[in-house]
């Protein structure tokens, strides 16, 4: 922690003085876009870091980058990696999965408005 008492995380995220323009009709769309761009940047950072790692390993004779291109996981590893992919997609797209489930649940009458459930459960 800095002797100044500045919290770099929050201070760096500060807003500039001046009303912010939102360009899309729905500012929520733009907020999601901004989060996606931040994720894109951090993914780029990770890719660059990985690239640096591979090049350093190659320079030191521990690995040739071509080894990575030629890498064929053994059956067990292949399954684990594909399962990871499946899991990853569900993590990232959770909201789409849940939206679809919500539509069905509503259509089937499983999901009702919370007020309706409250009414039902608070009725004496």
């Amino acid at each position: 922690m800095s002797a100044t008492g500045i919290d770099p995380t929050l201070a760096a995220a500060a807003k500039a003085k001046g009303k912010r323009p939102w360009f899309y009709e729905d500012p929520d769309v733009e907020r999601v876009f901004n989060i996606a761009m931040a994720l894109a940047m951090e993914l780029a950072v990770t890719r660059q870091r990985l690239d640096a790692l591979e090049r350093l390993l190659e320079e030191r004779g521990l690995l040739a980058q071509a080894d990575i291109e030629r890498f064929r996981p053994a059956p067990e590893a292949e399954t684990a990696r594909q399962l990871w992919n499946r899991d990853y997609i569900a993590r990232v797209l959770r909201v789409l999965i849940q939206t679809a489930q919500g539509r069905s649940a509503e259509a089937e009458g499983v999901d009702q408005a919370m007020e309706a459930v409250m009414d039902e459960l608070t009725r004496m």
Binding site: A11, A16, K17, F23, E30, M37, V45
Partner: protein, 395 residues
Amino acid sequence: MSQVPPSWQHVGRHELFPEAGHDDVARFDFLANLNGFVSGTLAPKVRSAYEQEVKPAFEQEQGRAPRDRHEVRKAMTGNTSYQIWSAARRCSMEMRQQTGRRLVLGQIDALLDKAAKRNAEPGLKLDPHIQQPRYAAAVDIHCMPGGYHSELTANDISAGANYDCGIFATTGGMLGRYNDGGGQALARWLQREHADFKPKRILDIGCTVGHNIVPLAQAFPEAEVIAVDTAAPVLRYGHARARSMGVDNITFRQASGEQLDYPDGHFDLITTSMFWHETSAKALPRIMNEIHRLLAPGGLTVHLEQPQYHEGMDPFEQFMRDWDAFNNNEPFWSVMHSYHLGDMMRAAGFSDDEYFETGIRAWVDADIFPEAGKGEEDYGRSAQWTAFGAWKEAA
């Protein structure tokens, strides 16, 4: 193979420059490429949307083309290509600020120490009585949280360090390693066109971190240079930066260009760089009057500014250049760039015979940036400027 910006690893490092790790460099590299995508891929779509959809619709309805940038702006509101370009441009700017501030504030103690050591050397004159002018404090200029002036801690330099470390990414390296392409170009222009001119006293107004005055101080090592700004954090950083680069003939003074305490005719050369659009309609003539008063007979005043909206400039082009005024906290940009520069100078007392205007490009290290200065126009962010000013008639 399309052109890519140079990696931020080539940025000019001096003692005050924040230390950066792998991920910091990668973030700035991402941002430089994102900016390239926004200006190179998204911005042309805005033009085609205007030409193919918005302008024909306007003409259909009004029986004429849009007359000025304001009509274009109204017509473009809600256009999808414009929204996409704008949202991405604004987002990129905010990410750049966060990236720079996180880098700087994460090592603030070390930077404050380095600055304090350098600033113990002579050449920094702060004045706590200087009030921030309204034009500097009404909004945070180009979305830098806290502007040039806010202090997060005693003897703060973070605004200067953040400003200095991000320009390279925002401009894709087009201003050179030390972001000093403007000052370098000015120094070279003087050497080439006016080799006999040897100013003894030089004044730079609105110097921020001094990046554009350092090359002039180096070109005229015998000269006494005064660099003024109203904001203390950038002056502290700028002074320490210049000192660490071995430049000791600049005094960084906290003062307003609207009113300086030097006698009439005190300076042989008075400069500003990318300054006027960050002032106001009230302050600009006052500062220009001060320049006329302070300039010695036979002296030169010269200013670098982004291009004016000259008559005949396509209203769409003006609208695109106006983006920063409305969307990047540059409230005087639009009006300032519609001023007639010659009239501006004449109002302060310079005659038409004394006045000149020319175009100038940033001068950058060609070994590292072979393509710098040749890139896409980025509507006011490119390193191509108007140089205007006056030679004051000798007495």
